[in-house]
Amino acid sequence: MEQKDSYNYKIRVDNLNLHFAANHVLKGINLNIPENLITALIGPSGCGKSTLLKCLNRMNDILPDVRIKGRVLLGDEDIYADDVDVTNLRKKVGMVFQRPVAFPISIYENVASAPRVHGVSHKGTLDNIVASSLAKVGLWDEVADKLHKSALTLSLGQQQQLCIARVIASEPEVILLDEPCSALDPISTMKIEERMRQLAKNYTVVIVTHSMQQAARASDYTVFMLSGEIIEACPTGEMFTSPKDSRTENYITGRLF
């Protein structure tokens, strides 16, 4: 897979293979993910895009029966090397899930849980982190006067924004989003996409999405996967106007599922 070198790459995936029990889920993945841009992973259900995403912060580690071979470089560091501190990796590479995972504690504590995990306990520092993280996802104005209410009182869209705020609160370098809008209504989806655009100024964003429109609207770089392999990876505009591979063309025009 050739990629143009006009980008700075934040993550380099080098011949990554993943087996889950007897299934060969990812087959020799080579991929470079550009820094401070939004990269979308698209492809039909079961093509391995979520699995690939989870490889980037080693969330597959918690599943039993998973074997991973190959290298994933974050900057210059191989995140699958033996001496890697996984908790520190996950601080640098944060993740937002498909269903919003708002913890059943207060809004404040939801966001504060991220810095607390990494040892911040000073009240003033936490206050600042909570406020700035909520502001960055555009949720501050809506929740400023009810920070100590349960996070479960928020709407689903707000809960997803809260989850993004929580990830930002641990000051990551990369933010992974696993179909973050699939449980949300169109207006919440639009808000999240706007936020992603803002966030990409400071963070490298990787999003898995089922929606071609979302990939086309909201991403700079698109990766098309099929049956555990990368078929095509190029700037979003190119992929949606002049796909090189016929399978890509079939998928984005809706002829392949």
Binding site: N57, K91, V101, F103, P104, V117, H118
Partner: protein, 282 residues
């Protein structure tokens, strides 16, 4: 066909009502037998009186109320931390096989008759306390330890179920933030499980306050207010069980009145358990 249906409905209704009727009769009976003496002595005098001396007509159950509270709190102090820690280990950390085996072992604990707990307390715990800590050995401490072990199955199994009911997404969400497993448990899983954990404590409390046989065997049963955990103590249930066999007249009434007080305490605990175990309103 239609008639048969009606018949079945009636039979079930009668069975259900008779179960409730038995409960109602018990309550009526206890109150009928016990309330005259409370009326005669005055409720305050009955529950705050410190002298229990049936032969002299003195019926103060304050030492027993205090005894029940001390023994129960002691049991909770011992049983809750151990039970909760066990549940956390079984639900969150142990490999599934280990967890299954240990869980059935703990459920076995629930099947041991209380007299056996009392007997082991009597022959091992009481002499141990007498020799190493002083006092007669029959004591608040001995009763609390025995009860603390007896409430473990309740605490462990309720806490285990509650922890297992916490959505896995919460743990995953914490791990994805870079939390260790313990951090995930401490910061999110336990707060999410809190109402259920409190309910388990109250159920354990109900079990401890109602237990009689094992307590009688190790508590010493003196009717005075214990000033140290090494002194003997008598609980409300012990009081009824020990004296009912030979009590007549006013004495018998006073024992039923003890039952009324116990009944009210347990009813309050059950109500409390229902309130805290309710899912949090959003």
């Amino acid at each position: 066909m239609r008639n048969k249906e009606t018949l079945v409905q009636w039979i079930l209704a009668i069975v259900a009502l008779s179960a409730i009727a038995v409960l109602a009769l018990i309550i009526i009976f206890i109150f009928k037998e016990g309330s005259p003496i409370i009326a005669r002595l005055g409720l305050t005098k009955f529950i705050t009186g410190t002298k229990w001396s049936p032969t002299k007509g003195m019926f103060g159950i304050f030492p027993m109320i205090l005894g029940s509270i001390q023994v129960t709190l002691g049991a909770l102090l011992i049983g809750v931390p151990i039970g909760l820690a066990t549940a956390i280990f079984l639900a969150e950390m142990a490999p599934p096989r280990t967890s299954r085996i240990l869980k059935s072992a703990i459920q076995l604990l629930a099947g041991i008759p209380s007299v056996v707990f009392g007997f082991i307390g009597l022959v091992i715990l009481v002499p141990f306390i007498r020799q190493w800590l002083g006092g007669p050995g029959f004591s608040v401490l001995a009763a609390a330890i025995v009860l603390g072990i007896m409430i473990l199955p309740t605490i462990v199994s309720v806490c285990y179920d509650v922890l297992k009911a916490v959505p896995p997404a919460y743990r995953e969400g914490m791990l994805a933030l870079g939390a260790t497993r313990w951090q995930a448990i401490k910061m999110v899983v336990l707060p999410a499980a809190r109402p259920g954990i409190i309910a388990s404590v109250i159920l354990g409390m109900g079990r401890a306050i109602g237990e009689t046989m094992a307590v009688i065997m190790v508590a010493g049963n003196a009717t005075k207010i214990p000033v140290s955990p090494l002194e003997p103590v008598r609980t409300l249930t012990s009081n009824v069980a020990l004296e009912m066999g030979y009590a007549i007249g006013e004495h018998r009434e006073a024992l039923f009145a003890t039952g009324i007080v116990l009944f009210i305490i347990i009813a309050l605990l059950n109500t409390l358990a229902r309130i805290v175990a309710r899912p949090e309103k959003v």
